[in-house]
Structures are given as structure tokens and as C-alpha cells.
């Protein structure tokens, strides 16, 4: 346009031609593009293990201790005084809907794609639908009725969507997961991506949840048992012999079904910073003292899982902390939070949990008789001394109710810090345990309103939907 004085020529010159990102319209000319966008959906998953996600999944539960008061908004959340403007609800809501947006986006391009084989198209569709279902499953548990979107946004003016009844959300989750189970490949060459049995295991977890509070569709216990057993009986997975070997890995173990992997140079696993009680850290995921004392004698999940009386580099004794995602060599070196990026994997689904789902579902369907085998496999593995049966003794002679309580407790011991605590309390209708255990720390008593978290303020403001019930009312 240099020295050109014609308007049309200049308008041409003002059209932006970016060089660091691409337009969706040209991207899929290359068939590899579809898979790269499906992979992109996974990029939000590590955010679920940051402080915001873990405050809701783990910190607000009966077994967690009081978080560091220095962590912004952690203490009011712990005290049942959380607000719709808190970063945790905003973050959790946005993360899940980002996964849904990215899945819907690629699904809309996969459907009419002509430059893909039919098999590849189905596999990628199944993978995107699995991840969409996974996100909706998180949302429906946290927030109840939520807006359903199954198509991508085409214009910012159409950004509003009403809330759908949670039954409809679960229907969508089941549709997606069943499609995924049918069409995902048997195997994946890339650890971290989903395959057929991941969908099966996820279905077990969804069915178990649907059978519990608040839907209470107890017929699904049967489905949960069926899917859990399908995973167990596939023979593809084996329990790791020692609980301590399950963690501190940077790749799958024999027990892994689906895990999040990390590399330190692109972020790493941030859970050490949320767990470590070393000087200069502000932990929010801590074991309460009653939880530490609740373990049976000789339980590796406590002996290895919870570090007590650990000495910092200056010789001072640190408060007890979960070791699952903590590398103590960082503590010994006196590293500050910026220096403790580790690459430890975090499980979404592992065989240990599937055994406990099988145990719980079996007990609900037919009572404890046939359920002991599943729970005791887990208890036996937890023994510090495998040969000593007094360590974490086998369960026997329990009533159905006693067995139910036993499984609930077993899940806490086994799965602590893996993101199940609040979901389990809600599903089993036992959130009031928080009240029982730490009433003095609560600003408001636990009530049925605790079944849902507040929908974030920015969603309420910008959408045409109502807020969940107020706390304390």
C-alpha cells in the first residue's frame, strides 16, 4: 500500500495474515489434523489436579485436615463458607466446559470428514465422546443440573444455554461412554490416552454413582458390578504387589487403567506443592489426626502413605503429610515450591479402585458374602508385612450395612488424595460426617445444600440460569 492512495488497495493491505496460529477452515486438509485436535482435548486434564480442583475433590471432606490459612480462599472453603466468586468453582466449571468445547469442536469436524478411514473416524469420535462424558460426569456431580452442549458454539451471541436436569446429563454421559466402549481401540500405544477398557471402567464408576445419592437409581449397582468385573476379568491388569510401588512412577504400572502423565519441562505434577508441609509451603491437602489414627495396624497406606515425624533440613519436625505425590528428596534439599516440579503420574482409574467398586456393588446387589474377596484383595495388598495376617486383617462376618461402611472407609484409606473424597461423601449421602468430625471449624453447618457447590458467579451473571440453593438455608 506504500504511497498508494486508493482506498480499496489499502483495505486489502489491512487484512490480517497471522503466522503463529491457523484457521480451522484450512487445518483439516491434512488428515493428521483430526487426531492432533483430539489430543488437544486432553490438555485441560492436568488442571483438575491443581489447587482449585483439589480443594473441591479432596480438601472439603471428612478426612482432610485444616489447610494452610495462607492459601487464598482455602480456609473459607474448608469452613463451609465458600462463595460463588471463589476461584475453585470458577476454575472447575471452566475446565470441564473447556474439555466439552474442545470435544464438541472436533466432533463437528469429524462427522462430515471425508479424508479419514471409517475406523479412524469412529475411534477418534469415541475418544472425543469419552472425554466429553468424563467432563460432564465431573460437572453433574459437583453442580447437579448443568447446561448441556453437544455442538460447538458458532457465534458468541449464542453463548447462553439453560440447565438440563441431571438425569439428562447422565443419559448423555452413558450414551457417550457406551459409544466409546464400543468404538475405542482395544489398546493404545500412548499411555495417557483412552482405550476400550478405560470406557468400561469409567462406566463402572458412573453406574455406581447413579445408583447412589441423589439419583438413587439402585438398579445400576448391577451394571456397576458387571463393568467392574469385566475390567477385573479382562486379565489385562494386575494389582501392584506393594502399595508404595503404585506411586512415584512416571509411567503406567500393571494396575494402571488410565492415568495422567507429566513431564517436568511442560509443567509437571503440582501436587507436591499442595501436600508438602516443609517450610515455605502452603499445603491444602493434609491428613487430619483422626484419619491418621483410623488405619489398622501394619497398613502400608499409612506407614508409607502418610509421613509422620519427618525432619526438615533444619532438623525441625514437619507436620504429617501424604507421601503419594511427594518426593522427599526435595524436602531434604530444602527446595522451595518453585523447585519441586515432579513428573509423578496421577491415576484417574486404577485396578485397586475397580476392586472396591466390585465389592461395593456386589454387597448392594447380593450382600457381603461374595464381596469379601474383592475388598480383601485390597486389604491384603496394603499389609506392610504380607505374611502377617494381623496386619490389616481380612474382613469377615459383616452385615450388609457394616460391609457398606467398611467399603466407604476402605476407599478413604486406599484412594486418599486421588480426587474421590467429596464425590464419595456425596454419592453415599455421608457429607454430614464432615460436621461430626470438625463442627467447630465450620462457619455453617453441613446441610442438603452441600450436595451441590455454588455455580460460579460469572456463569450466573452471563447466562440465563439460576443459582444452586444457598448455603446455610
Amino acid at each position: 500500500c506504500f504511497l498508494a492512495v486508493t482506498l480499496s488497495g489499502c483495505q486489502e493491505d489491512l487484512i490480517e495474515k497471522p503466522k503463529t496460529f491457523v484457521s480451522p477452515n484450512t487445518f483439516f486438509a491434512n488428515a493428521d489434523g483430526y487426531e492432533q485436535v483430539v489430543k488437544g482435548i486432553y490438555s485441560t486434564l492436568p488442571s483438575l489436579f491443581t489447587a482449585n480442583g483439589m480443594m473441591m475433590r479432596e480438601m472439603f471432606s471428612d478426612y482432610s485436615g485444616s489447610p494452610s490459612p495462607s492459601y487464598e480462599q482455602a480456609l473459607p472453603t474448608y469452613q463451609n463458607n465458600h462463595q460463588p466468586f471463589f476461584y475453585n468453582v470458577r476454575g472447575e466449571w471452566a475446565n470441564e466446559y473447556t474439555i466439552i468445547k474442545n470435544a464438541n469442536f472436533i466432533l463437528s469436524y469429524l462427522d462430515p470428514a471425508t479424508n479419514l478411514s471409517a475406523t479412524k473416524k469412529k475411534e477418534l469420535t469415541a475418544e472425543a465422546r469419552f472425554l466429553r462424558a468424563f467432563a460432564y460426569f465431573q460437572l453433574v456431580q459437583f453442580f447437579g443440573d448443568v447446561p448441556i452442549r453437544t455442538t460447538p458454539l458458532s457465534d458468541y451471541n449464542q453463548a447462553q444455554a439453560p440447565r438440563s436436569p441431571q438425569a439428562d446429563v447422565y443419559k448423555l454421559i452413558l450414551d457417550d461412554l457406551i459409544y466409546a466402549e464400543a468404538n475405542l481401540p482395544e489398546q493404545t500405544t500412548q499411555q495417557g490416552r483412552v482405550y476400550k477398557l478405560v470406557a468400561t471402567a469409567q462406566l463402572a464408576k458412573v453406574y455406581l454413582t447413579m445408583a447412589g445419592n441423589p439419583l438413587k437409581q439402585t438398579q445400576y449397582f448391577q451394571n456397576a458390578r458387571e463393568k467392574a468385573l469385566a475390567v477385573i476379568n479382562s486379565g489385562k491388569f494386575q494389582l501392584v504387589s506393594d502399595y508404595a510401588l503404585l506411586f512415584h512412577n512416571t509411567a503406567y504400572t500393571t494396575e494402571s487403567i488410565w492415568e495422567q502423565l507429566f513431564r517436568t519441562e511442560v509443567g509437571g505434577n503440582g501436587l507436591q506443592a499442595l501436600s508438602s508441609t516443609a517450610k515455605g509451603f502452603i499445603p491444602i491437602l493434609l491428613p487430619s489426626s483422626w484419619f491418621i489414627s483410623s488405619f489398622a495396624k501394619g497398613d502400608q497406606r499409612k506407614e508409607w502413605g502418610i509421613k509422620q515425624n519427618y525432619k526438615g533440613p533444619d532438623g525441625a519436625t514437619l507436620a504429617p503429610f501424604y507421601q503419594k505425590f511427594v518426593n522427599t528428596t526435595f524436602i531434604d534439599a530444602g527446595a522451595t515450591p518453585s523447585g519441586v516440579i515432579n513428573g509423578y503420574t496421577v491415576p484417574f482409574l486404577r485396578l485397586g479402585e475397580i476392586y472396591l467398586i466390585a465389592a461395593e456393588a456386589e454387597n448392594e446387589v447380593s450382600g457381603p458374602a461374595n464381596a469379601y474377596q474383592y475388598i480383601n484383595r485390597i486389604r491384603q495388598r496394603a499389609r506392610v508385612t504380607k505374611s502377617d495376617a494381623t496386619n490389616v486383617p481380612d474382613l469377615a462376618s459383616l452385615s450388609k450395612e457394616q460391609f457398606r461402611e467398611a467399603v466407604y472407609m476402605e476407599r478413604k484409606w486406599e484412594l486418599h488424595e486421588e480426587g474421590n473424597a467429596w464425590f464419595d461423601l456425596k454419592r453415599t449421602g455421608t457429607l454430614t460426617k464432615i460436621q461430626t468430625i470438625r463442627s467447630a471449624d465450620l462457619v455453617r453447618p453441613i446441610g442438603t445444600y452441600n450436595d451441590t457447590w455454588y455455580i460460579p458467579d460469572n456463569e450466573i451473571q452471563n447466562n440465563t440460569i439460576d443459582q444452586n440453593p444457598s448455603y446455610g438455608k
Binding site: D13, T189, I465
Partner: protein, 1102 residues
Amino acid sequence: VSYAGDVEAQEVLERRVNITIEQATLKQALMQVSQVANVKFVFNSKVIRSDERVSITAHNERLADVLNRLLKPRHVQYEVAGKQIIFSRTEPEASLVPDLQFDSNKPPKITDVSVSGTVQDEKGIGLPGVSIVLKGTNRGSTTDAQGTYRIDVPDASAVLIFSFVGYRSQEVLVGNQTQLNVTLLPDNQSLNEVVVVGYGSVKKSDLTGSVSSVGADKITQVKGISNVAQALQGFAAGVQVNQSSGQPGEAMIIKIRGTNSISGGNAPLYVVDGLPLDGLSAQLNPDDIDRIEVLKDASSTAIYGSRGANGVIIISTKKGKEGKPKISYNGYYGVQSLRKKVDLIGARDFAILQNEVITNDNASGLNTPQKALPWTTAQIDSLGGRGTDWQDLVYRNAIVQNHDLSVSGGSQNLKYYTSFGYYDQDGIIRNSNFKRMSFRVNLSYDISKKLSVSNSFSLQNSIYRQAIYAGADGGGGIPFTTMVIPPTQGPYDANGNYTKFTGVSYGETNPLGLSTELYNPSANLRLIGNTTLVYELVKGLKLNTSVGIDGGYTKSDYYAPSTISIGQPGGKASKGYSNTSTFVTEDYLTYSTIINKHTIDALGGFTYQSNQSENLNSGTGIGFITNDFTNNNISAATTPGLPSTGYSDSKLVSYLGRLNYNFGDKYYVTVTGRYDGSSRFSEDKKFAFFPSGAFAWRISEEPFMKQIPTISTLKLRTTYGFSGNQAIANYQTLARLTNTNVVFSNVNNIAYVQGSLAYNNLKWETTRQLDIGLDLGFLRDRIQLTLDYYDKKTEDLLLNVGLPTSSGFSTVLQNIGAVQNRGFEFQLTTVNTTGALRWNSVVTISHNNTKVLQLENDPQGNPVTYKEVGAGGNWFPIQVGQSINELYGYKVLGIYQTNDEAVKNGEPTKRAGDYKFWDRDGNGVVDGNDRSTLTHLTPKVTFGFNNNLTYKNFNLSLLFVGSLGNDIVNEFRKYNITLNGNWTPTKEAFNQRWTGSGNGFDVPSSKSGSSIRDYANSLWVENGSYVKLRDITLGYTLPTTLLKSAKISSVNVYVSAQNYLTITKYTGYDPEVSWSAASVNGWDRGNYPSMKSITAGLKVDF
């Protein structure tokens, strides 16, 4: 009358002239004739008396005849020399002796001839206070109330200089007279001063808009500054400059007439010698600047259209003048130090505090099992009071020096100015500094009568080292850590390694280690050049064409060795290169003509600008076998980094026009318009038109005002118009797929996600502004007053409008919302005393009120009144009806005296001794709904008060700056009034801690302050008003008699002090504070403290 012999000269005088002039001064008349006849007149101003009024009408008359009619009765003759006509007097007047041949080499003989007389003004009235100096000496006198004087002179060759403000100086040869009466003639120089505006310049008297001018003397008045914006502080009304940081070379926060934009940027446009520049910081040598004009109103800024809304700062660099070469050296050297220390407790008190924390926690049942006290009495006694004084350890005395050498001069056709500047400023934190070498060449050449070319080229090479200071709450932030790290801790541990601050997460290595070991220089080379060609097509019509480039090349080095925590494990290294380049071409026609009383100046043209930026970064390599590589061998890292590159470009195409019309130097009209197209906006929204109009009336030129001699100037100005803002990132309207990283099987995979949708409605942010101004001058402009009122409304804000996050998107940039800025500006320039002691002063006072009028509507159609934008987050939201960012949080009412009181007030988890929050809605629970606005961060008034005093050879300048009526959010206080034994509190907080009753500060406890620590609250709010003696300089000019033999024309030596006096209630380091990471004005999260300094300097002209 003499005629030069050549034919062309005769041709000039034969030109035919049509002109009507009524009651103009002779000078004005001659200027009109010269326009009409297209001939250049040259005259010494002493030849033409400007108080004479003349009238003449000519129809098709010879120029020679017109000149004869005008000049003969006035004893003026003329001669033609080449293409010019030169005037001279036919007979000298006693009171109008032109420059005499005075031999200054001859020392005055000591005899006593007494001369006396009266000095009168042009009306014959005696002038009191006129200064009379014997030329070449310090000998002087002044006139008394009747205008009479008396002075002793050595001999008949003595020359007396009569000077008085508002009047033209006169030099008179004494001769044999003992009675010497003098009539001084008024000098309207201040009105004839030329003001540079966009794409041209106008006489100050013809100005229709609101423009502040700052001259070279003021720009370099304050020593030890690297940044042009900083030089404006206190000198220009309506311009708020905040020196928020003491980091040398740091960019300033500068706002002209308030804050217009919420998301779109508020920095003014800088134009240097006609070239618009982005991001001008410390890369321009202040010594090269001749003057700065700040364009504030819509009429002045509309010529810059889409970039004018935040005001325009026009910088003119020095040019050569005809004459022999002038060589100048200007240099200073100074020492800077921490302005003030914060009064913190020492080691002994800190140990006592830590014991109290454990005691209180044990008593309240917080510790199960109970903990032992960390300190024994013997240990406390052995600590001996202060312990480590971290402020003394970290802050040092630092040197600043500046040397500038320039040569300028020229012939009639070629003029040059060239300079070399060296600026080197160390920061008071170790390893922070800014060094600049700058070179400049300004040339102008008249190739022919019609064609001239000028050229400006500058090169700056700077090295910038920033101390880590922006980290709030840790991250190694040096001012923050220095404040809170315990005095019981030493800088080194038993093994000689640096200790760490572990009181907060991300505490990092102690500030001594961090400032000593981190290597992070950034070197910048900036080349700015432009060439302008002016060609006169026909009489009055000129074509201006210019091309300019602005290229910046930056290299950033980073190496954190393993000896500091941020370098662990094994050292972290990176290297980055970036460059930006801008190309500008501007082509426009100007036309000026005077037809009788009608003066017309018109301008129309076209400009084109393209910007590009690129960068390459190595990514951070981690783990090296040795620290010796620093960042020179990144491939040796055990964990390699991911390299990255970037590219971005934008273009701006504009058409512009302006018409200035004035009738009889009384009525002025300006109409301006610019049609701008920017690549950044949506496809059919790229262009926008920004018109403006102005009207001015010089009431003082009206006959009825001539009756009031006291009022020398009275001008009413009013302007109205539109200007825009396009300060957003490129490519905002495009649909995009963005690459991201996903880890599978322990391998990093490249993947893509949907980044944004296409948005087809993004357009300009527009500010419309009304300005009403008044210029007043009294007593021959000895007192000048400029008043302005403005009312600005910015609409179609470039605002990130919230979306329901369930859509997968959180915000989209749209044109929504409105902000209003209203204010007053007041500038008073006075000559307070004349005579032996001359005292001039300038007072500037500005008041601005920013108010958010409107944000988006929610989907139900209800207006959104609260919005979180950018780094201010939920602490500093945008709220309708208030200024842009205000602290929003809990009000602390005091301290709970009993546990019961806490339960009753709705904070059941708090205990006696904890802070009590206001349950604003009274619903029995303290929660997020109880927050309210806690501050007023925008000053009600900012002001500057500058004084220049001269007595004999001494000169003294004092600059005061200040702001009134603003709060500061001192976030340090969440640490240093908190008594939990992790952080060093202030003595005030420690001495007034809660010990069972009272209302000072909280009870020492490990939970202490936890509930207020990270929740915005009223304990952080402090009064931020201040008055500061920004600079005081005392100079001495060596007597010229001493210098003659050394061929030096003048030498001035001075000492000065900066920031030595500040009156404020603010308890932090400095009330001029703002956290660099956010645009919130007055948010102190631990910025680099400002310094005070003492400098000594020398200015020599050869």
C-alpha cells in the same frame, strides 16, 4: 535607498502587490507584504518598532512603492540582497541603539562615572524594578518605584543592559552622557513563541487547542532520570506521571487527563520529530530534547485519530542554528540511596514474638501436642537486639552519572546538531542498573528556494538489568523479602551457602544472594531515523513527504546459578532475541495564505505505517555441570528447554486533513479530521473517522479590551471532537486453532485446541471530548494563567465482555461500556521578583475524576455493575459509578475482645484477639457479600510547583510535586502488621499487639492474621497524599571575564538533591508507588523503593 545591481533583485521590487492592511503593527504589515509578494524580509527586530500601527491599501502597485510608502516615514531603508530584502535604519534613535561594536576583550577601567536616568514604558510611565547591568560585569542596579536609577560606570565605552520581564532588553552605549533616559518596548515573545502541534506548528497566540509546552531547561532540570516521561512530572497540567519504581531505566506510568480505557491501554502516543513511536521508554536521551508538547484536547489530538485518545506527546529534538559551531558539554555525577527505611523490629523482639506465638497457640489448644518454645531466655539475651538488618544489607549507595557532548551550528543552507550521550545509573539494589549510549545527528539543508530536506537519525544502545522486585508474596521479590525476612536469620548458613526465606511459599534465596548472583541483562539497540522533504509547488503550497524507520533489537540473557534457589537444580539458562520494526511514510500538502485579514492554513494528506515484531527464545535449559557456561552453552543442559518463536504484525492507513482559519488575529477556527484504518479490527470495521472542531477568540485584541492595560492577554478557547484507541493485541478478531502441549507416554506431544471464534464486530474505542480553556495574561504577561475544563467520554470500550463459561469461552473482546473523565487544569506562570534577585515560578494543578458509566448488560438485559478485569482481579474490580479500580473487600472494625463476640458477629471460627470484620448485610455470617469499596485511589489533585531564582551569578531551582486526596493500598501490611512469627513486623504492630484487651493489632499466634492475610481489607488502606521536593539545584555561573582567555563562553557548575524531602503519612517506602504488574494506580505490593540522590554537575559551552 540603494538597489542591488542584479536583474533578479530588480525583478523582485517590480512585483505587483494587492493588499489591504488596517491598523496592524508595522511588523505584521511587513509580514503580510512578504507573503503577498513572496519575498523574504530580513530585519533586526530593533529596527522595526512594534508599537506603531500602520494602514495601507495597494492595488496592483510595485512592491518598491509599497515599501517606500510604509517605511520612509519611519526612517527605515531597505536593500535587496539575492532573494531577500534587508531593512535598516536611516538614522539612529537615542533609545534604539542597535548592537554596538563593544570590544569585550578590553577590561573595564576603574573610574567612576555616575550615570542616572529614568526608564519608561512605551506610554511614558516610569517602570520600577528594571534591571540595569554593566555589560561584561556583575555590576548592576535596579530602578526605583518611579523608574529612576543610578549606576557607576568605568568610562565612556561602557554599555548598559536594561532588562525587564515582558519588555525587550536594550543595550545602550553610555558615551559622554551622565543622564540616560530609556524607553523599553514591550516584548510579546511569549505569544510569538511557536508551539509544535501535530503535522506542523503554530504561534502560541494562534493556538486553539489545549497544549502544554515544556522546554529543554525543564526537561533536564531534575537530575538522575533516564526517562522522558519522568521529565514531565510537575511541569504539565493534566499530565500525571508516577515514578512507581526506583529501578533504573524503568518505564513510567503516565496518564493524560485520566484513565479512558479499561482494557485497551492508556499510554499516550509519542511523536519524535514527526515520527510516531511505540513504547518510548528510557531509550531517548533527554539532553537531545529541545522541547516537549503535550496535546490534550480533542482538536489537537484528532489529527492523530485512532491513537490520539490518550493524549499525544510531541518531542522535538535540538536543531542546529546558523552560526559558528557551538560545542557544549553537560555532565553530572551523583550518589543515590534508599529514601527511607521502614522501622521493623530487631532479632530480640522477633525471638520474643516467636515464643509468644507458641505460648498462645499452646494455650488456645491449637498445638496438640503442645510445642516447646523455640528460644530460651539465654538465647534471647545472646541475640543482642537488632540481629540482621536486611534493609542495610540489601540497599546500597549507588552511582549515577551522565555525560553529554553536542556540537551544533550551520551555514545559511545547512544546519546540524550532533550529540553523544552516556548515561549510567546503578540501582540501590545490587546488580540493577541502566546504561545508555546515544548518538544523534539532525541535519537540515535548503537545496533551493523551493526544496529543503531534513534528516534525523539516532542510535541508542542500552543495557538494562532489572532486580527481581515484581514478585509479590514471594517469588524472591527483593523489596518484599527484605522487609519480611526474620532478623534472627543471617545471610549465610554454616556451610557458607545463602539462607532462604521460608516464611512464605516461593520464599526463595535471601535477597542478598538473589541480587548478587542472578545474571539477567537485557541489551537493546534502537535505531530511529527519518527524512523529510519539503517542496514548494506554488506560492504557499508545499508538499511534505517523509519516511521513517524505527528498529529495535533486544537480546535477553538469563542465568540463575545453582547457588540460588531459583537456579536449582544445577542452574537455569535461557537466551532470547527479539526485534521490532516500524516503517512510516507520511505525505501531505500544506497551503498557507493571508488575504487581507483572513489567514488560512490548510493541510491534507496520507500516512501509512506498518509494524512487525519477531522473537526467538531458547527456552530454559536446566542443569549444568558448571556455572561457568552461564547461558552460553544451553545445549549442555541436562534438561533442555523448548525453544519458541513468535511473529506479529499490524498496519495502519490514514487520511488526514486540517484547516486553520483566523480573522484579524482575533477569531480562530480549526477543523480537523482523520480517517484511520487499522488491521486489528474486524473486516468491515477497520476504518473510522475522527473529526474535531475548535474555536478561539482573542478578546484582548478587541478595541474595548485595549482600554484595560493590565490585561495583556485574554483568550477563550473551546474545542470538541473525537479521537480513538486501538491499543489491543493483533489478530483478536480471527478464528484460531492454537497449539498446545500434551504428555503421553512420558513424551511431549503437540496438539491443537480451538482458541477463539471469528468476531466480526470489533471496532474502535472512541473518546469524545469537550474542552473549554482560558488564557489570561496580566502586566505584559508577567503573570500568565491558563485554565482548562474538560469533559471526556469514552465509548465502545474495548472490553473483554464476560461469556457464560459453559460455552467454553470466558470472555470476548467487544465494544461495550463507557468511561467518563472530567477535570480542571490550572497553570500559573509568574515572574515574582525582578532586579537583582529574579524569581520565576510555575504552578500546575490538575484535578481529574474518572467514573465508569456503563459496562455490559447481562443476558436478562440488566446492567452489570461489577466486573473483574485483568490483574486487579476480585481485589480491584471495575464498578459502575466509581473510578476504574478500587480496593473491594472487608472492613476491619477492630479486634474481638472475646470468643463470644466473634460468634455473635458471624465469624464463629475466630477467637479473641483476631480482627473483627464488618457483617455488612447483618445476616449473622461474614462472607463475600459483606465486601465493600474501601478506597479512593485516584488523586483528587496532583500538582507541581517549580521555582527558578537568579541572583547575580547564582541560580537556584526548586521543584515540588505532590498529590492530594488519594489512598494507597499497602499490601506489605498484610505481612508486617501480622504477628505470627514468620514475618518481621513493624515496631508499631509489635508494640501495639493484642495482649488481652485493646484495639491495636492482632494477637500473636500462628493463625494470626490468617483470616485477613489474603482477603482484601481496610487494614491495607493508607492515606497516599504527599508533597515532595523532587529536585533542588543550586548553580553558579562563572564570570565571563575569567573565561575569555580560555575561549569558553560559559561555565555553570551546580549541586542538586532529589527526593530529599517528602511530607506524607504513608508508611511504606514511597507514596509514588504502583505495582508494575497491574494498571492499578497506588497498589504497593513491594515495588523497587524510590531513591534520594545528591548530584554535582558541570555545563560548559565553548
